[in-house]
Point group: C2
Chain length 216, copies 2
């Protein structure tokens, strides 16, 4: 191989390794927390040297932020992207919620919902890690509200719909299911979350909205 | 003082110190987690010697369990005890929920709801600490369900009421409010929780139940 080939191979190899490292770090952090995510802990899990990991992430904080960003990419890939083609409004809201519930219920992280675990951990720790998490979780709530407002404008939800309350109920139903499943191992947890979601959507739906919701 | 007096003074003094230590440890754990609750960390916060603390709690695990038990006593004192005299059924359920919301909204712990923070932290850590927390949080959910079932038998809630779903919604609304307040600083969080509670209770209430709920 020529020098240039070797260099680009090293770059690709490095990016791939970084990706693999982050896949593991999101998984570890979902269960043991972002504080549990030390370079040493991760090196052991991956069978890599500490110095090798330091080459990728200069500090624990950098590793934590890269880990949250990896979880964000996973979230976008499994919850947002697959619903981009769905009819805007109530149908897309339903699709996003279903994809979210599915990703938390059958997600691949050992500790369940990454953002739930991270929220409880960093909510009292001011700094860039907390700021990033506030931004991401806030943007998800905003996304839900945006779609709810569109559903009102499309006449699928009543004009009297309390958007803040409805978003609070939808978002809360998934967080509660994650809590219930993780701590109490309740197999029905996500069914309850789906039932709660349909109940509050029906409560605000117009005739047209009920047709979108179907007879579930 | 006689020897016996001295001894009983020492016992009283010891019990009082233990209580003070635990008051601080619940507070610290609500924000920094049960894992953050080392004997060293607590000694520093209290200005006590490590060996003095070791005399009270032999191990970190013992300290963690004693801390959870102290949080349980606080919960009973602020949420259960004040509602014992309230009319059983929907009125008592409402009183318990209001007292719970109030205790989380204006509680004295620096990190908000102790059980919310502890749940997310230990849900993936098998052992006696997790077992104790599962038992306590499960018993609170059972208490809510028991009161809901009584309200059905008293004709305040419809016979068709889905008790599991309703308890899930009530419990979830307070957890979501705590999340929303702690992470996003939203001042309306607990108002949303109250609004969500009243909405789902009304949805299941009979004429008699609506009278108990009032026109809020």
């Amino acid at each position: 191989m020529k020098d240039a080939d070797l260099r680009s191979w090293a770059v690709v190899r490095g990016a791939q390794t970084r990706k693999e490292i982050l896949r593991t770090s999101v998984d570890v952090a979902s269960a043991e927390g972002l504080e549990g995510l030390t370079i040493g802990r991760l090196a052991k899990e991956l069978g890599l040297s500490k110095s090798g990991l330091f080459a990728h992430f200069g500090s624990k904080e950098e590793l934590q932020i890269a880990t949250i960003d990896a979880a964000r990419r996973d979230f976008v890939a499994s919850v947002i992207d697959p619903t981009l083609d769905v009819e805007p409004g109530l149908a897309r809201l339903l699709a996003m919620m279903e994809a979210w519930i599915e990703s938390v219920e059958h997600g691949r992280y050992r500790g369940g919902c990454f953002f739930y675990a991270a929220s409880a951990e960093v909510d009292d720790r001011p700094g860039p890690v907390r700021d990033f998490l506030v931004k991401l979780t806030g943007s998800w709530v905003s996304q839900l509200k945006k779609e709810l407002r569109l559903a009102v404008r499309l006449g699928e939800l009543a004009a009297s719909t309390d958007i803040d309350l409805l978003a609070f109920q939808l978002h809360g139903s998934v967080q509660e299911a994650n809590w219930f499943r993780r701590l109490h191992g309740d197999e029905k947890a996500f069914d309850l979350s789906r039932a709660a979601m349909h109940q509050v959507l029906r409560l605000n739906a117009t005739e047209g909205g009920l047709a979108v919701l179907g007879d579930r």
